[in-house]
Symmetry: C2
Subunit: 243 residues, 2 copies
């Protein structure tokens, strides 16, 4: 919500340090040279998910590439968010949105989870590209790790018992997510959001029976999965997260 | 998040009562007859924002229209949500989304607000259509009222002093929105979300100086306006709203 969209932010693979210089990749070079039409000397912001955010200047342009020269660090690399966000993939359009929002809301790791009602298997590359794009656009320096998709049973079988798994359950026994969240002892948290069709009854029974799982309600209305994701992340971050 | 997307829900203008019968409008008739290919006797759900949700059956089909016969009430009309949602219009795509999400999150009234950094003036009809579509898709029976757009100054000048206006301020003096929200006395609430570029410094000063305004932070990350809307609505609903 802040007007810092002025200077172009680019995610790069290269290491960032004062004086470092490299060519932007072909896509970014095209964007800088022909879409933004930035000339030599123009400044941009660079981040790589490791070295913080740096100012850089366009040091030269060839037909093939735009040369970037790293200037000064603007923001140090933050601690990588610990929050693990497990989600059943949605249809592509909504999935792009869901990933983008999860990045904005501070998810550190994203795990696509295949459930009984899951509609599709996600393209991991597309998820990663969405995560990078969201970070570029929203001034976020930590790029979430996007894991390979797993079946719900696998996810739960291999779960780290010291990480509390919060799942959004329209039939949760409480109607107060705050009190439930505040009662959580674990510092390590994960959120599980089901597919558009919701979890199956079997899945909900299985989840509720697990000692490391906490079910929270998300109000009286039926939320679409992508809305539920943002709502749950907001409530978690504001109650026991990094807000 | 529940699998109740099976039976088609339609918003209709007509009064709903047992035995009532009427033709679906041309667009809905086309959708029922030629997209869903529903035959005579097929059942749908109808709501009009006044009479609750009713089952209905396709009583007949002509070239021009699908005739609907109202059967039984399924859910009574809920109390209309009191929450007033004031928002600076965004670019069309994101605006559609923002309206849809606000409906899901329980906004009762929507007020487009023109601020210094607002990009565009919204088409009210499109906003209303989005609100109806979101209600149709998400099982919501109360269609939010969509007001005409107003300038921020006008909105504040005519404000009901008994309604607390919560606004998302990245520079709020606290980092704990929960405590701030719990300290609110008023039962009547409104949320104000700024444009993509945020509020201007003048606007923030003006808002902070008003006795009926409460500023809340939305965490350490910069949220896009449409994300901030869902996040703020979630935190408000969960803390002092209708969850």
């Amino acid at each position: 919500m802040r007007a810092n969209y002025k200077m172009q932010r680019l995610f790069v693979a290269d290491d960032l340090a004062s004086g470092a210089a490299f060519d932007a990749d072909p896509q970014q070079s095209h964007y800088l040279a022909h879409v933004l039409r930035l000339g030599e000397g123009a400044e941009v912001l660079l981040f790589n998910g490791r070295d913080g955010e740096w100012s850089a200047r366009i040091a030269g342009k060839t037909k093939k590439a735009v040369r970037l020269e790293v200037l000064e660090i603007q923001r140090p690399q933050p601690v990588h968010p610990d929050l693990v966000y497990c989600f059943a993939p949605l249809k592509v359009g909504r999935l792009d949105y869901l990933v983008q929002k999860a990045v904005e809301m501070g998810a550190g790791t994203m795990v696509p989870v295949i459930t009984q009602h899951t509609q599709m298997k996600p393209g991991i590359d597309r998820l990663r590209a969405n995560a990078v794009e969201a970070a570029e656009q929203c001034g976020i320096l930590a790029i979430p790790e996007v894991r390979e998709a797993v079946k719900l049973e696998q996810l739960l079988a291999g779960w780290d018992k010291e990480r509390r798994l919060i799942f959004c359950d329209e039939d949760a026994s409480t109607n107060n997510p705050m009190a439930t969240l505040r009662s959580i002892q674990e510092r390590k948290l994960a959120l599980l959001v089901g597919p558009e069709g919701g979890f199956s009854d079997d899945e909900r029974r299985m989840l509720r029976a697990l000692p490391f799982v906490t079910a929270i309600p998300l109000g009286p209305r039926i939320l679409r999965a992508d809305t539920a994701a943002v709502a749950a992340l907001a409530v978690i971050q504001a109650t026991i997260g990094d807000w």
